[in-house]
C-alpha cells in the first residue's frame, strides 16, 4: 500500500514534503490511539485505518511516503487499525469545529485562490466561535482548545476535554446545532403569561441572552428603534424599554403586533448571532481531520498549530503558513493566476501559458493548486 507517484510535479512535492517531515516535529495527543489516513493527488484520503505506535514510527512513514494529505481521527480507539469500524472499539473523541470560507465573503467568487478578504472573514468566524460560544457558553478553558489553520482556507478548533470525550453523535449534533442556531425558535424563548409578554434578559445564557443583548445594543440605532415603535425615538422611552428588558419583561413595547415584530427582528438577527461551522464535522465521532502542522497538499502550506487561541488574531495564513524557503524556481502557469501575495512576495497576475521565476513557497503553492507546472 503506497501512494503512486507519477508526474514530475508529484516527484518534486514528494521530495520537498519528505524533507519537511524529516526536520519537523510531528505528532498528536494520544497518537497511538488514533486512526490515520493518507491522501494523494487524486483524493484527500486514499488510505485509512493506519495506526502508529509512536511519533518515531509515524515520522519514518511520513518521510518515506510523504503523502500530500495527512489526517488523523478525532476519535481515540483501542484498536485504531482494526476494520470494520466497530472493531476499533471507540473510546471517545475530541470535539471538532471546522470553519471554512465558502469564498463568497468578498462579494465575487474566489475559486481556488482564496482571497485575503475571505481569509479574514473566516478568521473572524473562528474568533467569534471561541469568544462567543466555546469560552462563555460551553465553559471550556483556553487550555482545552487547540486551534490550527486548516492549511487551505479555514481553521480547525479541537476541544480536548473530559466534559465532551464520550459524547455520542447526537449529543455533538446538538452542540453543532447550538452554535449554528439550528432549531432556534422564537416561541421557545418568549412566552405569554396572561396579557403579559416575557422573554430573555440580557444577563441570561444562551441565544435568549445573546438576542436580548444585541437587541438592547441596537436600540441606540435610531432607525432600528423606530422600526419597532415610533415612540422609541425618545431617549426616555428607550431607557424605559431597556430597563424592562433587563428584567425579562418584553411587555413594555407600546406597539401592536409586538410578537410579530419581535419575531421578525429575531429571525433577522439570529443569522448574525449564530456561528458558521460545518455541523457535519462536529457531529462525526469518527471523522478524519488534517493533522496539525502537517502540509496541506492543496496549498503547500502547513496546517499551522497556533500557540494559543489568542494567537489567531495575529495569524496571517499567507504569511505564516507557507513552509518552503528553498531556492527560487521557474514554473509555467496552466491557467490564469490572479495577483497574489505569499510571504510578503507579490506576484501575478500570470496569464495562462506564461512562465515565471518565483520564490519556492509561491511556486509550490501554484503547483499544489494545479495551476502551474515546473518549467
Amino acid at each position: 500500500m503506497s501512494l503512486l507517484i507519477q508526474t514530475q510535479e508529484e516527484k518534486f512535492l514528494h521530495r520537498r514534503f519528505s524533507d519537511y517531515y524529516s526536520k519537523s516535529a510531528v505528532g498528536v495527543r494520544g497518537l497511538e490511539k488514533r486512526e490515520f489516513g493518507f491522501g494523494g493527488w487524486e483524493k484527500k484520503i486514499e488510505f485509512r485505518h493506519l495506526a502508529f505506535r509512536n511519533e518515531g514510527e509515524l515520522r519514518a512513514r511520513l518521510v518515506s511516503e510523504a503523502p500530500l494529505y495527512i489526517s488523523h481521527s478525532v476519535a481515540y480507539y483501542e484498536f485504531p487499525d482494526a476494520r470494520p469500524m466497530p472493531n476499533k472499539n471507540w473510546q471517545g473523541s475530541d470535539l471538532i469545529f471546522d470553519l471554512d470560507t465558502d469564498g463568497s465573503a468578498c462579494g465575487h467568487v474566489c475559486g481556488k485562490f482564496t482571497c485575503q478578504k475571505c481569509l479574514d472573514a473566516v478568521k473572524a468566524d473562528a474568533v467569534k466561535l471561541i469568544e462567543e460560544f466555546l469560552l462563555p457558553d460551553f465553559g471550556f478553558s483556553k487550555s482545552e482548545l487547540a486551534v490550527n489553520f486548516s492549511g487551505s482556507r479555514g481553521y480547525h478548533v479541537h476541544v480536548v476535554s473530559d466534559a465532551i470525550y464520550d459524547l455520542d453523535r447526537e449529543a455533538r449534533r446538538e452542540i453543532a446545532d447550538y452554535v449554528s442556531g439550528t432549531g432556534l425558535s422564537f416561541e421557545r424563548l418568549f412566552w405569554n403569561e396572561g396579557k403579559k409578554f416575557f422573554g430573555p434578559s440580557p444577563s441570561q445564557g444562551g441565544f435568549g441572552g445573546k438576542f436580548a443583548r444585541a437587541f438592547v445594543s441596537r436600540l441606540s440605532d435610531d432607525a432600528f428603534a423606530r422600526s419597532i415603535a415610533l415612540k422609541l425615538r425618545k431617549p426616555e422611552e428607550k431607557e424605559k424599554l431597556k430597563s424592562a428588558i433587563s428584567m425579562g419583561n418584553w411587555d413594555n413595547i407600546g406597539i401592536t403586533n409586538r410578537e410579530k415584530k419581535l419575531s421578525e427582528k429575531f429571525e433577522e438577527m439570529k443569522l448574525t448571532m449564530a456561528g458558521r461551522i460545518d455541523a457535519n464535522v462536529t457531529a462525526d465521532t469518527s471523522k478524519l481531520i488534517r493533522m496539525p502542522d502537517s502540509i496541506h497538499g492543496g496549498s503547500g502550506f502547513a496546517a499551522k498549530r497556533l500557540s494559543s487561541p489568542d494567537a489567531i488574531s495575529s495569524f496571517e495564513p499567507m504569511r505564516h503558513a507557507p513552509v518552503f524557503k528553498g531556492a527560487p524556481m521557474r514554473v509555467k502557469a496552466t491557467e490564469t493566476v490572479p495577483a497574489l501575495n505569499i510571504c510578503d512576495h507579490s506576484f501575478g497576475p500570470i496569464p495562462s501559458g506564461e512562465a515565471r521565476e518565483l520564490p519556492e513557497a509561491c511556486a509550490i503553492y501554484l503547483i499544489c493548486k494545479k495551476a502551474a507546472v515546473i518549467a
Binding site: R173, S185, P200
Partner: protein, 322 residues
C-alpha cells in the same frame, strides 16, 4: 447509606447493591413468582408497582428487583429488556417526584449514581453540558439551541431534572442487561415464558420495491426488528423514506412495531403527519450526520438508491478495498 427506604425506592443504586450483598439473598420460589409478575406487568402495562411502606416489603423489593433482572436476562430479547427498562425508569421517576420535596437528599444521591451534580439556581437547576446532552431525550423540548447555556452549564426545571434521571436509569438498565450467568431453572423457565409477551411481527414486513432499499434503510429496519431504540432523527428519516417509497401507513407502522417504546396510535399519527406534510428525504450527507449512513453508495439521497446501479458499485468498491 444503609437506608432501606432509599434502597427500596432505588434498587439499581450502589447502596441497594451493597445492602443486598451484605445480607445475602436467597432465591425462593415465592419470590420468583412475584418477580415474574413484576416483569409481566412491566412488559404488558409499562408499569412497575410501588412498594408498600413496610420494611419486609422493602427487603422483598430488593430481592424482586434482582430476580426480575435475571428473568429478563434469561429471556434475552432486546425488546423485552428495553421495555422493562422503560417501566423501571418510570417507577424511579415517580419516586423521585415525591422524594424531591420530602427527601431531597435522595434525589441528589440518585444523581450522584450517574456522576451528575445538579446545582440549585433559584427554582431551577444547573447541570453540566455533557451530562445534559447525555441524559436528555433528543426532542425539540430539549433542543440545546433554545436553552440557557452558560459557563458549561444548562438550566433545567425541577421536572426536567427528574426526567433526566429517568433517562439515566433507563439507559443504565438497557446497558447492563442481559446479565450473562448461570441462573436457577425456575428463573430460566420464567424467562422463557416472557417471550410469549413479544408482539407478533409479520414475517415479511414490506414488499414494495424492497430490493431497492439502500443499506441505511435496511439497517434501520433490521435494527427495529431487533428492538434497538433508534434515535428520533433516524426514525423520522426512515418514515419519510418509506412514505416516499410508496409504502402504505399500516405497513410502516408494522415496521416500527419492534421499537421498545412503540405506541400504535402515536406512530400512526406521526407517519400520517409526515405524509401530509410531504417532507423531503434527508440527503446522504444529512443521514451521515445522524450517524445513520452505513455505506458509501454515492446515491446522493437514499431515495435514489438502486440496487443494480449503486449496489453493484458498492460491491465492487468493497472488493477493491479488501
Amino acid at each position: 447509606m444503609a437506608d432501606l427506604l432509599f434502597c427500596s425506592h432505588y434498587p439499581f443504586s450502589s447502596a441497594a447493591k451493597a445492602y443486598v450483598s451484605e445480607r445475602g439473598m436467597e432465591i425462593v420460589s415465592s419470590y420468583v413468582e412475584k418477580a415474574e409478575e413484576r416483569v409481566r406487568e412491566a412488559i404488558v402495562s409499562g408499569k412497575v408497582r410501588k412498594v408498600p411502606a413496610l420494611s419486609e416489603a422493602q427487603e422483598e423489593e430488593l430481592a424482586l428487583y434482582a430476580i426480575a433482572r435475571m428473568i429478563v436476562s434469561c429471556a434475552n430479547n432486546r425488546y423485552l429488556i428495553n421495555r422493562y427498562a422503560v417501566s423501571e425508569a418510570k417507577k424511579t421517576s415517580d419516586y423521585l417526584s415525591s422524594d424531591a420535596s420530602a427527601r431531597p437528599d435522595y434525589v441528589d444521591a440518585v444523581a450522584a449514581e450517574f456522576g451528575i451534580r445538579f446545582e440549585k439556581d433559584g427554582a431551577h437547576f444547573l447541570v453540566p453540558l455533557g451530562k445534559y446532552l447525555t441524559y436528555t431525550p433528543r426532542s425539540t423540548d430539549y433542543k440545546l439551541a433554545n436553552r440557557e447555556v452558560s459557563a458549561g452549564k444548562v438550566k433545567v426545571s425541577s421536572h426536567e431534572r427528574i426526567r433526566m434521571l429517568e433517562e439515566a436509569v433507563k439507559k443504565k438498565i438497557e446497558r447492563e442487561l442481559p446479565i450473562r450467568a448461570a441462573f436457577p431453572a425456575e428463573v430460566k423457565a420464567a424467562g422463557a415464558r416472557m417471550l410469549a409477551l413479544l408482539p407478533k411481527l409479520e414475517a415479511t414486513v414490506v414488499k414494495v420495491g424492497q430490493e431497492n432499499y439502500p443499506p441505511c434503510v435496511r439497517r434501520m429496519i433490521e435494527e427495529l426488528s431487533l428492538n434497538v431504540n433508534l434515535p428520533h432523527t433516524a426514525r423520522v428519516a426512515l418514515a419519510i423514506y418509506l412514505v416516499r417509497a410508496g409504502v402504505p401507513t399500516g405497513k410502516i407502522v408494522d415496521i416500527f412495531r419492534g421499537a421498545p417504546d412503540f405506541s400504535e396510535k402515536t406512530t400512526h399519527y406521526q407517519v400520517e403527519y409526515l405524509r401530509t406534510k410531504g417532507y423531503s428525504m434527508p440527503s446522504c450527507a444529512t443521514m451521515d450526520s445522524y450517524g445513520a449512513c452505513v455505506a458509501e453508495c454515492r446515491c446522493g439521497t437514499p431515495l435514489n438508491y438502486r440496487a443494480n446501479v449503486h449496489g453493484r458499485a458498492l460491491k465492487k468498491e468493497e472488493g477493491a478495498k479488501a
